[in-house]
């Protein structure tokens, strides 16, 4: 990817949003297992665990919550699901947990929103 000043700014704000999301999840009692898990097939922003639930979390930074939901397109969900498969392949001990796909929406000067079970693997 080309590195332009805009791109770098977006990257920085994205990382900040992920930091906010991870903080929110930790406050809710999740343990962060991985951040920016990346394989050729796709990537996951945060992998977190709480009890028997393994959550694959996508972080979106948008002014509007509905915009954020729509931003997780079909293609984006497929990339996340494939990345989750790859993650489980590397950590087979976790494959027996309840797998869940979550969305955290980070908004400027407002509290972030955590949508548990935001989509399913076959949506």
């Amino acid at each position: 990817m080309r590195t332009t000043p805009e791109r770098q700014a977006a990257e920085r704000s994205g990382r900040r949003a992920e930091g906010v999301a991870a903080l929110l999840l930790m406050l809710k009692g999740y343990r962060i297992l991985a951040r920016r898990f990346r394989v050729p097939a796709g990537e996951i922003d945060i992998v977190a665990r709480r009890g028997g639930v393994l959550a694959f979390v996508e972080v979106k930074r948008r002014a509007d919550a509905d915009d954020a939901r729509l931003a997780v397109t079909f293609a984006a969900r497929r990339r996340i699901v494939r990345a989750a498969d790859a993650f489980l392949a590397r950590r087979p001990a976790l494959a027996g947990l309840t797998l869940r796909y979550d969305l955290v929406i980070v908004r400027r000067r407002r509290l972030p929103i955590h949508l548990a079970n935001a989509f399913r693997a076959d949506d």
């Binding site: 989750a84 947990l97 797998l99 079970n117 693997a121 076959d122």
Partner: protein
Amino acid sequence: MVAHVATVAFQGIEAVPVDVQVQIQPGQPVFAVVGLPDKAVAESRERVRAALHASGLALPPKRIIVNLAPADLPKEGSHYDLPIALGLMAALGAVPGDQLAGYVVVGELSLDGTIAPIAGALPAAIGANALDKGLICPAACGPEAAWASREMDILAPRSLIAVANHFKGTQVLGRPEPALAREGAPLPDLAEIKGQELAKRALEVAAAGGHNLLMVGPPGAGKSMLASRLPSILPPLSPRELLEVSMIASVAGALPGGRLTDRRPFRAPHHSATMAALVGGGLRARPGEVSLAHHGVLFLDELPEFAPQVLDSLRQPLEMGEAVIARANHRVSYPARFQLVAAMNPCRCGLAGEPGAACRRGERCAADYQARLSGPLVDRIDLRIEVPAVTAADLILPRPGEPSARVADRVAAARSIQRDRFAALGRPEIATNAQCSAALIETVAEPDAAGRRLLSEAAEAMKLSARGYHRVLKVARTLADLDGADLVGRLHLAEALSWRVAGERLLQAA
């Protein structure tokens, strides 16, 4: 953990038990339906999910597998939604699974969680009763399903929530009441037809014995009018016939409001009908017009305008009383014991045989037109009559004809004689002379000496086929039944032969 819910698949009008298994386990959160579902069944996933959501239940983030067993039987139709949803609710603990075990479940779900009506509730109820189970079906289908048995337990909930409440005991559902269709518009009456005494007699004989009838005549002679009055002189359906007719109508989704009627079906398909429309079949096997006319009348107006192939496809159902449909993934048979009534013009211009009418194409016109009917099909028609044009003098005459009710009484009397006879012979499944087998008719329609002489001479002169010979005997038996005579006399045979001769002359010389 696996939850089981019983439902059915329809093969013909039979309900084959199907076990819906729902498993919820950890893993990638997917929702899959397996077990040879067709498109409508595979799509039930979305409806089930929306309906559960509307009922306040979300799918858990777990792997949900729905299996429809036996897995090699193709599942089609929309009635799997409700069993899948209830199986899921049982697996989630929203309804008690052990209470569901006593029911067969059918129903389609709307996105808002209400239960939409389905086709085939009556066969499903009968199938459930055979398995000693109750039935859960849509509210709109309750009155229809309630016909299956007086004792069986039937629940007809309006929505998913109503099912849950029923099992929780907060709002218990009552048993639906069987509904009978209110008497519809009065049928057209025979008294409205002026003249055509011969045709009316033929109609009465056809009604009495369940014989096939062909009417040939110029346009405007009243052939269609006559045929549409046939239902008014036919006896009502017996309870067993009613059930059979309703099962077919139910599978075809043709029971408005789940109400049953004891009126005999009268089907008049347009002559553009395809073979699948008439005999049944198509991608999803469905009963055709011949099956919808079971125990009733199939009226084919403008007979030669039907595609010849389509007409010849009627031959087997006419003989066997059932339509067997074999397709790549189906082999089903629907009952099709119908009475064929056909009407046609003698030629394309419709004027052949009329005094003073001259057709530009001459003799060829009628010959070509009638050649569209195959001999074997015409051979299966017992009564063939000529319906001449009505003269103005007939119309002016104020003489009222005989009302349908009086004819219907005679028909009913003749039918009860037939029913008693076949019951006494240990063949209660035969209701009319027309359904009787060749061997049996020879014993029950034994003609007297004079009759036998006439029959052998006529058979020689008319070159009757073996089938034709037996069909003459059947018509003669009906004529004797109408007379209340025990023995088939010479007179009856003579009249029966005359109905056949008329056709022979019509179809060859005209």
